[in-house]
Symmetry: D2
Subunit: 478 residues, 4 copies
């Protein structure tokens, strides 16, 4: 089966899936005024493979067939570096918004390969075989795949089986000869309104008593009982002049409900093995944070570039404090990029031979990104000036009455065209001071794991033994 | 003349003023779907004086007549503290958005009192007399007054008279027997679409060659030649459930153009005295930053309160990192509040007897507020979680189909009503992750002076002599 | 009894107290080459009262008698402000090192007044009477008083009565008709090698089972069984040219051992009332952190002054980054000072009528001081340059051979005398890059409560209810 | 010539060099009580090559001969990585204090290779030939080499030839047929009291008028006219129990005076080519900051290890804030290490084929190290507790009288030996709260370039063009 074109991708989404937006059932996600923007955005991943400039990066040949590089199982640092580059490239084309319809799904598939291999080593080979078959199916059909991981969790101080409502975590409510029936809901499911498949993973380690919650599986999005309630966040009719990014690029987020959904055994990847739930959640996260840092790089590049460009237009680029801010932004971008490359270079191999980027470096990179993001936004807003939130409308610029006034008065230094300056200011406003800016801020601290999760993982991955031994030796208490 | 009621205030704005919004002339600012929200918000200042709970704070008796406390010339620390409290109170009623229609105008009037007094001491008494008469008129008619200070500035590396376009700063283009004619434009003019009066101040110190730019005056907003081009930022039809603040509260910002506007001498407060331009700009800022910190306090209070409330609903308030964040937010709120009270307590008196809050402490307070704001937003977003940008719509909650699913799955810990949780999340989303959130971020770093301006003023106001002498004495080089 | 003179003070210390320094018993703390420096330093508190320039601040008249202001029970904000000023003044005279021989003792006495009053209200009046009598004795004899609070604690995860060694916290080992016998040890006891009295307080709240540990009392320092093991930290023969502060100023710290020490009842202030241990520890801390911030102000003043002075000598004061650093140092000094004054102004009254500085503001001030101290040191070191640690010796400057070379080459800009520059550099080196500098750093994060303790207290003192109510109201869930 | 042994190295330093310490001429640097410690420390570089455990790292075979790896010209990333590892290893052996006697000299030699090659390309081949010959001589004789770069600078706002004293920068005072005569002085010259050779480099770019100052050369340390005035900083008789690092490890810093020193042409590497002064200064710095970050890694490792070890001994390692601090320390160590490895991996080749580590990444790494160092010290001091500055002396521990008390009371949790805890505390005290701690702090912000220099270089090396183009493209103003 050849790679899908963008047009084929879009056509394939018209499948009767159950999606709600603002209380109303969505008939056609492609034609919908809001969800359709997300479909167009997602099509970037398919378009890249179609684009001669990007084909060498986006497509690899395996066993004589072309497949999307996303589906290429990483076996070397170089594989990870190229994957990272592809993720960054598609995000760049997506105007700093990750495309994600293949990125996240393959992160999950890599994790499933590793964890099912470990289960096979302990005697449960069925999961490995199913994972392989499912992976090949997705790869060969060039499918778009979402991942649902975060449970609604109920009371966060209690474990799954201790909740007042047993459905606060997705669980197996029935085991049948032909498969399982699952119930529950996941939040923050990105892009699922426009993928073909949905992989469901546990959100955390499970204890012995949580057997029903140690479950992983995949379903087609149009499966009966799967209901997607899409968030209206940031969804209003946007003027592209004023919202150059978010008027054209969007990612849908849903509350994903599993109302007694039947999953045949061939699509079940974990069903009760509580000891594997934690490793599966964690291995997914190891890949996904590496993916995440990769797709944050264009965002940081844009912060630097927009900050520098507007400083120049405003005529302040020589000021000491401006250089200070640009230097800090540039260092931020540089460090996060270098750390994630180093994470690929310091990867380890996990059976069945997959390269896993260094979790320590990945988490350090992710934390550097996440913890400094708001401060970086502050610096860019500082460089841009108050017009970010006080500039006139495009209609004012175009009007015969007000247009000349706007043109005369908002040009800044000689040689700068007012329209260009307003466009640049609107880009920064859309990027940092709009709902899209808020979305980026919230994603920075929550998506792919919170700040606390990154710190916890860093603490666990760092090997304190060498440093402690060194300290003891120097203290003379070796 | 008695104090205006909110109804009288609104009625009085229907005066034919020249306002454009998205390229179209606005006939009636009160009835306009966007500008009307700003009018309602502004009416809070009048409503407060009408409200028995707030009357003692909002109204003072002077010479047997009741006047708005805003117009009360501060002569003691207590006056400044009460003024600060009034500003904070009206902003609290305004859901963290400053009302500003009397706050900023009186800041300007206080500065004009002081600077015109100094000019009188140097022989130019006419300005003082005009300022007093104008002040009394505004006070007695209980007027709403905007201030336009920031020029469009053209090339920031050049002074006013060195610009390619001589109109890059507002200037006197003609001196007539009966007054002056001014041309130019000011940016970031807040609330002027719904005030009666507009005071224009120089934006910076002027050199000898910049005489035409050393100009201050006041005009009624409906004056011929004054054109207000309103910003469409954040102006779309908002669902109050999802935008509990910004669907109801708004401040308009305009590009304010002076197209050969005639100003009679009685309304001219500076016309060529270049040496007074800097002091006037600076004295206004001394009052206005004090005002600014006062009206930021409810914003900080809300960050603390919302952070704590959502942590409780999410059931995470006992976690160490949550307490750490709440402690930092509480410290931030506490320190900024204490510093601004201390600024009032350490005020100085300037002829003709006005109390000026300590500029050093005011700038230190303002910088503490502004430099940490984005980090505080990060902490609140961190406490709230990703639902800030992925939650369903109000229609999903109300729908018979999706409503039960939303209610079941988004309730968090026992005892929390899903709707209450969503309302609180929406409050935080509106406050921190929407265009309104972006507006607050940009205001933090730009309004009432940038971070750099605050640092510069701190450097100038701090008296290094004592510390240097102490260092030299301890070094033995006294 | 009149106030003691410095000479009387020194003479009175020759009392046979049991002090060890580097394993050897110290016969005479005044004559000892190390401990004697601390005695000279401590004498500043007595000298101030003797000095006409400071007498009005240092001495107050009460009931027709002159007493040291330290002993003046604070009843108003003004009392607290003056006390704060006195503490800052004596520390200034002490070259940024607190004198402490009356400061800390009176903090403890104020706390004892309040807590014993509360005990009296619950029926145990004996403690109040003893406290008053003891206070009057110290005040009338103008005594120097140390406080021992921090127990050695053993395993910090266990409470006092759960320790393997029951002596890990000071405890009552015997109750007799005439008094109690105590055993245990306290660490970090400052200045006790040169005070007359030692007050012992519990270090934390106690549970019901910890009755033997809920003990407070006072003993003369020469009491049998009290052994002081003095720390040798920073004690070597210092060249005053190179260590202009620490060659002349010193505070001793001891491990204070109570080896079955008998304390007569009249000196026992708590003996088993576990519920009062926490309040006593905390009330002491409320006063003592206020004292602490007061005596940190000269340190911050010196950082600013030294930073500015050396920047000028180095000829870099006009550079943007230098102004940035000086501004940050100045803001730091200003904010901490203003917050502690505000803490005095917002005091509350506790029975029997003592003014307690706002614990919220005190902790916020203390945390601002402590958390930024190392960064401030970094800035001053940055301004000063590498000569802090590479400059020649005073003997090189004085030598006929090397002196001219040093003078020629280390003069920096014209008009600066090399010797003056070296003296200033040595001051900064002593202040920030020596054992004394390390001492100041460690005190910043540990003395008078750790960073964590300050955060905890801030969290407890901040009233979240108002902010939460405000958030709920704006969210529409009032 | 074979590699030198430590004994041979020490013997070879007895050459009559002119060194002053505290105003007195030093006869024998090896036997001197202070300078001798530095000699012992420096011998580590020779000992490593002698040590079977380290020989593979420390020695390389080139053309059939063994040479010190320091002298191996780096041609690949791997060469740079191994060099970095060697530098880290010797510093580890040096207890976090860099050895430097070959590190810095080879940094200079690499830079001289590159800059003299560029000069040769422009027709001046003599320098290249001299550099090569000199390099081979040092390599073959396995010499220790210091570098003097920082001029005393006089008034920093003026260039070399504009100074009141023309000797404020080292300059050529006479050109002779057989060589040049130089005069001036350099500050902060590390290790030169115990190296064989001294290389002198310009400290900055020079203008056309500064020809006499564009000078680079090498001299044997015992050359007539070269006077070394050693700093007494931190030099006192230290108890090894209390100063486990600094009692045994030391680096000397000198003011290095050139009093009309004759340098034969074969040792002159730049003499008037002003355009090459800047590149030479900068190329040296490119290598030297890479070296610097390499030798800071053991310091960061020790901060982590000591912090963790003392937290465990204190029994607080499970507390949330302790884990937070340890995580931040671990991230700091990890990030700096990863960035410097990445700098090696992203090296570029400069004629004549030398690998230059990425200056952008090197500066980002160096700035991350330097800007966070004081904060890291704060965290370690926080974890360790106040005993850092209040603990008893070793004599108290050994004494029959006080020893049992110290042992009983300072043991912390069960299983911890008091002596071990005191040793660990003393290690941390020596590392962070002593003159050695101050030395490390000052080096962090000044050695190998200041914070400002690192930021400036980051700004220059970062390529803003791509980001700006990206921003313009997204803004639609491509």
């Amino acid at each position: 089966m050849p790679l899908k074109t963008p047009a084929q991708y879009k056509q394939s989404l018209k499948d009767g899936r159950t999606v709600y937006f603002r209380g109303a059932r969505v008939d056609d996600v492609v034609a919908h005024p809001v969800l359709g923007i997300a479909v167009e955005h997602a099509a970037i991943d398919y378009a890249l493979a179609d684009d001669p400039r990007h084909r060498a990066l986006a497509v690899v040949e395996e066993n004589g067939r072309e497949i999307s590089r996303y589906y290429h199982l990483p076996r070397t640092s170089e594989d990870l570096l190229r994957r990272s580059e592809l993720i960054a490239t598609s995000t760049r084309e997506g105007a700093t918004l990750v495309v994600l319809i293949k990125e996240i799904g393959t992160d999950a598939l890599f994790a499933l390969h590793i964890v099912s291999e470990a289960l096979a080593a302990r005697g449960a080979a069925q999961y490995r075989d199913r994972v392989r078959a499912y992976y090949e199916r997705c790869r060969d059909a060039d499918l778009a795949v979402a991942v649902a991981q975060t449970d609604v969790k109920g009371d966060r101080s209690l474990g799954p089986s201790a909740q007042a409502d047993p459905d606060a975590y997705v669980r197996i409510v029935e085991r049948r000869a032909d498969g399982i029936v699952v119930r529950g809901a996941k939040v923050h499911t990105s892009v699922v309104t426009n993928t073909h498949e949905l992989i469901v993973l546990p959100t955390r380690a499970m204890r012995a008593e949580d057997g029903a919650y140690a479950v992983a599986f995949a379903v087609p999005v149009d499966t009966r009982g799967v209901t997607l309630i899409a968030s209206p966040f940031g969804a209003f009719d946007k003027e592209p002049f004023e919202h150059p990014i978010s008027a054209r690029h969007k990612m849908m987020e849903t509350l994903t409900v599993f109302d007694d959904v039947f999953v045949p055994w061939e699509r079940v990847f974990l069903a009760g093995e509580t000891e594997a739930a934690g490793p599966l959640a964690l291995t997914f996260v190891k890949y996904h944070r590496f993916t995440a840092v990769s797709y944050k790089l264009p965002l940081l590049e844009l912060l630097v570039g927009a900050g520098r460009a507007i400083a120049e237009m405003n005529g302040i680029e020589a000021a000491g404090h401006v250089r200070e801010k640009l230097t800090r932004l540039a260092s931020y971008h540089t460090a996060v990029g270098a750390l994630i490359r180093q994470a690929a270079l310091e990867c380890t191999l996990a059976p069945p031979g997959l390269a896993v980027p260094s979790p320590l470096l990945t988490n350090v990179a992710k934390f550097q990104f996440a913890s400094q993001y708001h401060q970086a936004v502050q610096m860019v807003q500082d460089l841009a000036g108050g017009l970010l939130v006080t500039a006139p409308a495009v209609e004012d610029l175009r009007s015969e009455v007000t247009g000349p006034l706007v043109a005369k008065y908002l040009g800044a230094k000689a040689g700068v065209q007012t329209e260009e300056r307003l466009r640049l200011l609107n880009l920064i406003s859309d990027l940092t001071a709009s709902d899209f800016g808020g979305y980026q801020e919230v994603l920075a601290v929550h998506a792919e794991g919170s700040l606390e999760a990154e710190k916890l993982q860093t603490y666990r991955e760092y090997d304190f033994r060498g440093p402690v031994a060194y300290a003891r030796r120097l203290a003379g208490i070796g």
